[in-house]
Amino acid sequence: MEDEIVDYEKYVYKQVASVQFSVISPKLIKKVATTKIVTPELYDKEGYPVDGGLMDTRLGVIDPGLKCRTCGAKLKECIGHFGYIELARPIIHIKFIDIILNIIKSTCHECGKVLIPKNKMTYYFKILETIELEQGIDTRRQKIKEIIASLKTTSKCPHCKAKQHKITLEKPTTVVEGEKRISPIEIRARLEKIPDEDCEIFGLNPLHARPEWMVLTVLPIPPVTMRPSITLESGERSEDDLTHKLGDIVRINQRLFENINAGAPEIIIEDLWDLLQYHITTYFDNNIAQVPPARHRSGQPLKTLTERIKSKDGRIRHNLAGKRTNFSARTVISPDPMIRLNEVGIPQEIAMKLTIPEKVHPWNIAYLKQFVQKGAETYPGANYIVRPDGKRKKITEETKEQFLEEVQPGYAIERHLMDGDISIFNRQPSLHRMSMMCHRIKILPYKTFRLNPAVCHPYNADFDGDEMNLHIPQTEEARAEAEVLMEVQTQLISPRYGLSVIGCVQDSISGNYILTKYFTQLTRSEAVDLLSSVGITEFSRLPNRKTVTGKDVFSCMLPEDFSFVGKSRSKEVDGSNEVVIVNGKLEKGVIDRSNLGEGSGLLLRNLHKKYGPDKTLQIINNIFRLGIKTLLKRGFSVGIGDSDLEVKGKEKVTNILKKVDMDVQKLIENYKQGELEAFPGRTILETLELKILEQLNNARNESGSIATEATEDSTGTRIMVESGARGNIINIAQMAACVGQQALRGRRIGIGYSGRTLSCFKRGDLTPTARGFVSNSFKSGMTPSEFFFGSMTGRDSLMDTALRTPKSGYLYRRLANAMQDLRVEYDGTVRDASRKIVQFSYGEDGIDVAKSEKGVINIKKIIESVM
C-alpha cells in the first residue's frame, strides 16, 4: 500500500498551481505574432498567398502540399501562428467599453488618479476587496462609482483640484465629456496616466492588465487554420467569414494610413476612423444592439468571433459539450408483453441501417459471404466490407460480385443486426445506472422499439409518446462488457434499496391474483393449456388429479427447492394474508403486488439470492406471461357498473352526506353566534375551517369505506385495486360515493370573487358546497360549480408538477455531479478522487445495499441456512 501511494504520485508530472487571466498587451501581441499584415490582398495572379496578406503562409497552411513558412510543418501538423496589424489610429475594444467608461469616469483627467482622497483610500480599498470576494468584480466597479458619488467631490479632483466634467457614453463606443467627444487617442492617453497603485483599486493587476491595453493599437490576426477557406466545386475559393471581416479591417486601415500621411482633411480621416471602429467592433461581435450587423453580399449576417463561441450553435455548447454517436437509433417505444425482459424489439428498417462488424475467418467465411450475397437492400444482408487496411467499401448491386470474390480472412463484414445481437438501450434522463441497460435484439415489423412493460420501471418509461435510444457496441470488448455488466438480469437488484427493480406490472399482477385466489377448479387440460402458452412444457409438477388449482399452476413457475414465507396485501377468501411456499409449492396465500411488484416484498429478492440473475429473470418472465395468459383465458374488463352500490349502501352514503351537511351547518351557526372556541394559536375562523375540514374528510372516508363494502368484490375494478395492479380505494370511492373536498394549498377553496368563490353563491357563504366540497360522485355527475372546483385543483396540481420537476431534477444533478467520483475502497472507506476520506465506513454501516435485503442483512436466515 505504501508503495502504491508513491507510485500514484510518481505520474504527476507537473501540477497546475494557478491560471492567470489577463488583457493581452500590444507588446505581447507583437511578440507572439509571426507576420505583420500590410495588404488586404489574399492571393496573387497564380493563386498563391500574398506575402503580408491575410493568407500568408507564415500564418499556417490550409492547402495540401504547401509548407508552413514559420515551423516548416505540413497541413494538419502545423496548428497555425498569429500575425498582427498595426492600427493607424487607436480603436476601442467593444468588449471592454464598459470597463473603460467606468475607469474614465472614476479618475481625474488631469493627474489620472482615482477621485478618492488619499486619507480614505485604505478604508475603501478594504470594503472593495470584500465586495469583490462576495459579489464579483462588476459590483466592485459599480461600488467605486457609488463611493465617488457619495464623496461629493465629483466636480473637483481631490489630488490636483482640476475641474471634472460629466462623462457619458454614446452607444456603442463614443465617449462624450460634457458636449465634446473624446477620441480614442485621448482615452488611451488618460488611461496611460493612471498610476499602477490606482489600477489595483479597480481590481486590475497592472502587471497583467494595464487599462490602456483595452484600447487597441495593434490587432492580432488569428492563424489561417482557424478560418480555412473552402474550394467550391467550380474551383472558386470561398473565404471564411472571419477572413472577410479581417480583409475589411486591413483595407480601411491602409486607407486611413494613406490619408493621414497625405495630410487629408480631418473630416475624411474621422470618417475612415469611425469606419475602422465599426469593422473592428463587428469583428469581435456582430450582434451589438446599436450596430447594424455586417453582412455578406447575399444579405446574411457574418459569423464573427463572439458568434463562434456563444449560444447553442457555438463552440462551447455545440462542439465541446455536445455529444453525437454513430451506430445509434432513436424512436418511439411501445409495449410488447410477449417479448422477453432482456430483449428489445427493433424495426427491420433500423436493423438494416445499424450494423455489426464481423471479422472474416476461415471458419466463418462461408457464413459471412451469405450476407454479402444478399447485399444492403435485402435483410439480413451487409452494408459495408472492410479491407484489412481499414478502407470501408459500400456493398451495392454492382460491386457485390466483385466483393464476393475478394473477401478473405482478415476482412470484416458490416452485417445487418440480427436476433440475439447485443445493444445498449437508454432513456433520458439517465439518472440511474439502470437507465442504460443491455438488451438483446429482436427484429420485429413496424416502426417502434418494443419493450416488455416490466422493464418500464427502471427506465421510468411509459408509452404516451416516449422515445428511447439504442446503441450498438462495435467491438468484441465493448459487447462483452455490455453483456457482463449491463444486461437486464445483472441490474435486477437496485443498489438504492436492495430489492428487485423489475417485477410484474398491470395485467400480469391482476392475472396472477385471479389465478391464485379464484381459480380453484381448473381441469387438467386447462392447466396444461395455460402452462404451455407460457412456454412451459414440463407438466409433471402438476398434481396428479382431475382438477387442479391456480396455486398448483403458479407453483410450476417456481424452482422445486424454493421455500418462502411472506405476506400479501390482499386477503385469501378465509381472511388470512400469509403466503407460504414450501419446496416450490404455493401452499397458502394470494400472489399480488406485494410479492411480484417492483421494489416490494422479498419473494423476488430471495429467488435472486438463491438462483442468481439469469434464473430469476427467467422466472419473472414466466410469471409475467402466466398472469397475462390467465387474463386472456378468463377475460377481464372494467366498467362504470363496477362501482354500482347496493341499495343499502347508497342509502348509507346519502345519510352520511346529509349528516355532515347538518353538522357543518351547526358549526357555522355556532361560529356566527360567537360560541365557537378557538384552538390555541388559531383564530376563530381558522378553527372553524379546521373543524369543517375534519368533518368533511371524515365523511369522505366513511362513504369511501362503505363504497368498498357495497361494491361487488370480484369486479375488474376491485380486482385491480385489491391486487395492487392499478388504482386505490379512493378512486373507487370517488367513482361510487363522493368525490370529496377540493383543496388548494391545504385549505378549502376560498379565492375567487370578493367574499365568495363563484358568483352563484352568496357572499360569506361557508357551506361545504360553496367552498369546494363535491358531494356527487364521478358516476352521478357533478354540478357546474363542483366541476369548476375540480378543475381548480386539477390546474393547481398540474402547475405544481410542471414547476417542481425541473427543480428537483437540477437538485439531483448537482448531487450526482458532486459525488460522481466517490468510490468505496477495499478497506471499506469512501474516498474521493484525491483519495481523501469522505466516510470511514460506507453508509456508516458498511453494507452494500445491492447485496442486502432492503438495506439490512438477515442474519437469522444466514444462520438457518448454514445450520
Partner: protein, 83 residues
C-alpha cells in the same frame, strides 16, 4: 447582541443534538493513520474554531474523534483533523 450573550451560557457539547467530540492522543492518532494507511491530509478537516470543539484544547494537526448516532449503524465513528 443579546443573542450572543445567551450563547455564552450554553454548553454546546452538552446539547443532545451535538455528537461527542474528543481529542485523540498521539498514539491513538498514529494507530488510526496506520489503520487506514493515510497521512493526515487524507482525513476530513475541522476548523480550529468549530463550535463543536470549542470546549476542547486542540492544536493544529490534532485528530478529533466524533461518535454520532446513525440511522443505519446505531453508532458511527468519524475522525477529523484540526486545521
Amino acid at each position: 447582541m443579546v443573542i450572543n450573550d445567551m450563547a455564552k451560557d450554553v454548553d454546546l457539547a452538552k446539547h443532545y443534538l451535538v455528537p461527542k467530540h474528543s481529542v485523540l492522543s498521539d498514539t491513538e492518532k498514529a494507530k488510526i493513520l496506520e489503520h487506514y494507511r493515510i497521512t493526515p491530509k487524507e482525513l476530513p478537516k475541522i476548523a480550529k474554531k468549530d463550535a463543536g470543539i470549542a470546549h476542547l484544547e486542540v492544536k493544529e494537526g490534532d485528530v478529533i474523534k466524533i461518535v454520532r448516532n446513525s440511522p443505519t449503524a446505531g453508532k458511527s465513528v468519524f475522525y477529523r483533523v484540526v486545521n
